[in-house]
Symmetry: C2
Subunit: 385 residues, 2 copies
């Protein structure tokens, strides 16, 4: 019921009953329970065409709770607070710790940001329903353990436990890859816009490249929760060495660091952060710098090839470029689409498309917050009182 | 109900009701309808531990119907007739037409084989429930159109219509890739053996390499039905030209033709069929021929890398090597497993395994027959009277 309301609300009681396929009495008692818990609200709307009394529709309650999405990236920590309907209440962005390879230090930084957000939520009269934590790597979502994040150098970090402790166990914590969470956000935004989204692959252009796979309207996480690891597919055995230790990984061609290195080759970098390097690349591209524009176009070609590999295996409706790719897309999308089309064995009218996320780097926090609501809807977490 | 019986039969009425999650009355009326149509039978079994009266269990009826699986490969046509419980009633193998690129000629050959099978089924008192037709390539299963089969040179062939005409529209026809059908057969055989099978990827080692993807217990076919196209992933841009026109495709490293060419390099081939070349390779490998053994080991390495690419994206329980790979596995599996392990970013105790199908080249016909039953169970085709 919660899932259907999240996807389709506001909606009338009979339409809700039809949508979830439950008997009238069951739907009704479930709705009443959710109303009592403050998760669902009745909304009055005046019918557009008819006169007469306003209709009472049901929707996710937007007032009582907040859900938090925390994104721990290689050089920044992002926090967003959302209402249950996905309205963004707060957005905080802070530089990460200098020594990202130390999970404790980065976790302390993340906890500080998280507490800032919670203070805002509480002063706003909202109870925290849960926290979704995104990292750019391989996560065992069932235990909340980070298995491996090449860009942070983390292996086997009990992130869920760490964040839950920092929160004083005030709310449930979910951990997953940034790509998985962002794929959920992408699905919802497309569903609400009325565009096809039952199967999509979201390519995260953060400090790694992961894929979030939505199939049949749901996230496909794989047997161990590690599906979507595209960054270390070997696409060029004769290529460069990757930080994972192998040669010719997709990230050495299309990963953010590789793209920035190529675009800024020969320029003095000093101790520039990645964020300032992206700003520099965007400014140079805008000013028509041909080296930068060429490097971005070349990266676009590799991104298109990678998207085609994912498509060959999964045949989704569309592949979405997210994260920092969204900002660099004006100089990458054309070559990416050409390479994507060239690499597909069969191209036809209803073939898959390659598109840019409207979410940018905030897709992961949005999806992380949404995932908390979804996990409650799926019965994976208890309902709040 | 049919699907549950196919996976779990024989089973008692109450267990069936629990398994499908329907109300008692609904289950009962459904079962009675299926009994009347001869799709389900009551089976008496004497309890093992207790004395007393035999229990009546329900199972798929094995006596009234036959389902046919037809596999149109590059140099051979395979037909198997199965009972609804998956017992093989007949197996026929014929050389294909010399001019495989002509769909009409190959279809005529296939129709002859199919009619032979039907005569056997009818003389056995069985009605044909349907025909599943497998091809080694990209299929739009919803329309039964073959989009592209590189090894046959087919593009946009209305195969379902062709086979249905050859059958005089006597029974419904399903068309899909050999890998998809074989993956279904693999899932059932593992389910019956009690081994994990809710997510698996079957790699078809026929005249192309396709993947059949089972996720959440079901086939994942993709938006256009073209998921699993691994054969033309570009794994080595510096490699050899492929028959699809591109360079360095997975098939140029691990496809059957590439493997046979490498193993028999320098030997006189004449007009040897692929089947006889496989026999020759197996005989030479058995005799300890080091060139052949080395070529198979090298192919194994590439197969392991390809299996790892699929695993990185999908994270299945296991990857299964099928088709002709099964026969060549004694000389390929060791290097395949090593390369598979080396290519995975995270290896742990419950990591995915790389295994060999017990089905060999008959997996596709078995799965094609099974798919007919499944499509009726899913309501995609009407129930027979």
């Amino acid at each position: 019921v919660l899932r259907h309301l999240a996807d389709h609300g506001p909606i009338s009681r009979p339409d809700l009953g039809d949508g979830v396929g439950l008997a009238r009495a069951t739907t009704s008692s479930t709705v009443n329970d959710l109303l009592r818990r403050g998760l669902v609200a009745e909304v009055s709307t005046m019918p557009a065409e008819r006169r007469g009394r306003p209709t009472t529709l049901l929707d996710i309650d937007d007032t009582n709770y907040a859900v938090a999405g925390l994104d721990i990236a290689a050089d920044r920590v992002y926090l967003a607070l959302h209402s249950l309907r996905g309205r963004e209440l707060l957005r905080v962005e802070r530089p990460g710790d200098a020594d990202v390879t130390n999970p404790r230090a980065l976790l302390r930084r993340a906890a500080t940001v998280l507490h800032e957000g919670l203070d805002v939520a509480e002063s706003d009269g909202r109870k925290l329903l849960g926290v979704g934590v995104a990292v750019p790597g391989l996560v065992d979502a069932s235990t909340g353990t980070v298995k491996y994040v090449p860009s942070l150098g983390w292996r086997n970090v009990a992130l869920r436990t760490g964040v839950a402790e920092a929160l004083g166990d005030r709310a449930p914590v979910l951990v997953d890859s940034d790509a998985n969470f962002a794929a959920l956000a992408e699905r919802r935004s497309r569903l609400r816009a009325g565009t096809a989204a039952s199967s999509l692959v979201y390519l995260s252009g953060t400090y790694g490249i992961s894929a979030g796979i939505v199939a049949g309207g749901r996230l496909w996480c794989g047997h161990r929760g590690m599906a979507g690891e595209v960054g270390h597919l070997i696409v060029d055995p004769a290529g460069r060495r990757c930080e994972c230790g192998r040669t010719g990984c997709f990230e050495t061609k299309a990963g953010l660091v590789a793209v920035l290195d190529a675009a800024l080759a020969g320029r003095k970098q000093g101790h520039a952060t990645s964020a300032s390097r992206i700003d520099e690349v965007v400014a140079l591209a805008h000013s028509g710098n041909s080296n930068v524009i060429e490097a971005l176009a070349e990266a676009g070609t590799w991104i298109g090839r990678g998207a085609a590999m994912v498509t060959a295996l999964l045949d989704p409706h569309l592949v979405v470029l997210g994260g920092h790719y969204a900002r660099l897309a004006p100089w990458m999308l054309e070559t990416a689409r050409t390479a994507f089309g060239d690499a597909l064995l069969v191209t036809d009218a209803d073939g898959p498309s390659l598109e840019v996320s409207s979410r940018g780097i905030w897709g992961a926090t949005e999806g992380a917050a949404l995932a908390v609501l979804m996990s409650i809807a799926d019965g994976d977490r208890p309902l709040p009182d």
